[in-house]
């Protein structure tokens, strides 16, 4: 079973990202589970969401405390929240950032990948300058960096389940997937 934890801020689409990942995994015949942790759901406030993917029905209903993958939709959060808490040493940290992976300030010593989802989202008119909606671009990056779901499954899931601007979101997924996600081996 693969456990993924998403960190974002209210309005960036972290919860929808975790759901879309689940839909994509389902399209590949996998058993997915996705749920948010509801704290203060306010625009801008920190939001956490979880996705599990397995080959058999998932027999666990708790929050994810030792994820295989941590996805950070907003690098600013890393200053206030320990996003890599419990991340497995052999796991993957994917951060939405313009920086190269080794520039990312994180105590995590494992694999780090970065994807410039913000600029990709803005380039495709997703969200506003103040609050770009980066979730689909991040998923494109996640598909490439982790390989846990194919680009095609993400594309289909986004087309079918994204609430608005389906085409622009699909382009953002492909854009992120094409733009090589900088993948650094263990640092």
């Amino acid at each position: 079973m693969i456990e993924i934890r998403f960190h974002g801020r209210g309005g960036q689409g972290a919860v929808i990202a975790s759901e879309l990942l689940a839909q994509a995994a389902f399209l590949e015949g996998k058993h997915p589970q996705s749920f948010p942790f509801f704290g203060v759901e306010r625009r801008g406030a920190p939001v956490t969401a979880f996705t599990r993917i397995d080959d058999a029905p998932i027999q666990i209903r708790t929050s994810i405390t030792s994820p295989d993958i941590v996805v950070v939709l907003d690098a600013g959060l890393m200053r206030t929240i320990n996003v890599t808490a419990g991340l497995k040493p052999e796991g993957l940290l994917l951060v939405n950032s313009e920086k190269a992976p080794d520039q990312v300030e994180t105590p995590f010593k494992g694999r780090v990948a970065t994807i410039d989802a913000t600029n990709i989202a803005l380039a495709h008119g997703l969200g506003s300058k103040a609050m770009p909606i980066v979730n689909t671009a991040v998923l494109g990056g996640l598909a490439r960096a982790s390989g846990i779901v194919s680009l095609d499954s993400v594309r289909k899931a986004v087309e079918r389940f994204v609430p608005a601007k389906q085409q622009a979101n699909v382009l953002a997924v492909e854009d992120a997937y094409q733009h090589v996600v900088n993948l650094a081996v263990v640092r």
């Binding site: 801008g44 406030a45 600013g76 103040a130």
Partner: protein
């Protein structure tokens, strides 16, 4: 701030007494306001309309953004008549 780790740390009834000032909401913003004091007329409109009480005044009466709390809503920039406030993207 007192730490509320264990049951014994908690008050008997759910009474909260720590001022919310300890919660820094800076990370909420994508843009922050920057005031050009040459243009600012010290009219305090930015202070008046700030929903986050995130505008203070310096010794000479100029507004100072309390960056620990500003959420980047940009009301101050919008309402500033002389347009002395611009929103700058956080890195």
């Amino acid at each position: 701030m007192t730490s509320y780790e264990m049951e014994e740390d908690l008050p008997e009834a759910p009474i909260a007494t720590t001022p919310s000032d300890v919660n820094h909401t800076a990370s909420w913003r994508t843009f922050r306001p920057v005031i050009d004091l040459k243009i600012c007329t010290k009219c305090n409109v930015c202070w008046k309309f700030c929903p986050d009480d995130a505008v203070a005044f310096d010794g000479e009466g100029y507004p100072v953004i309390r960056l620990d709390y500003c959420k980047g809503c940009a009301i101050c920039a919008e309402e500033c008549r002389p347009k002395a406030i611009t929103m700058v993207k956080e890195e």
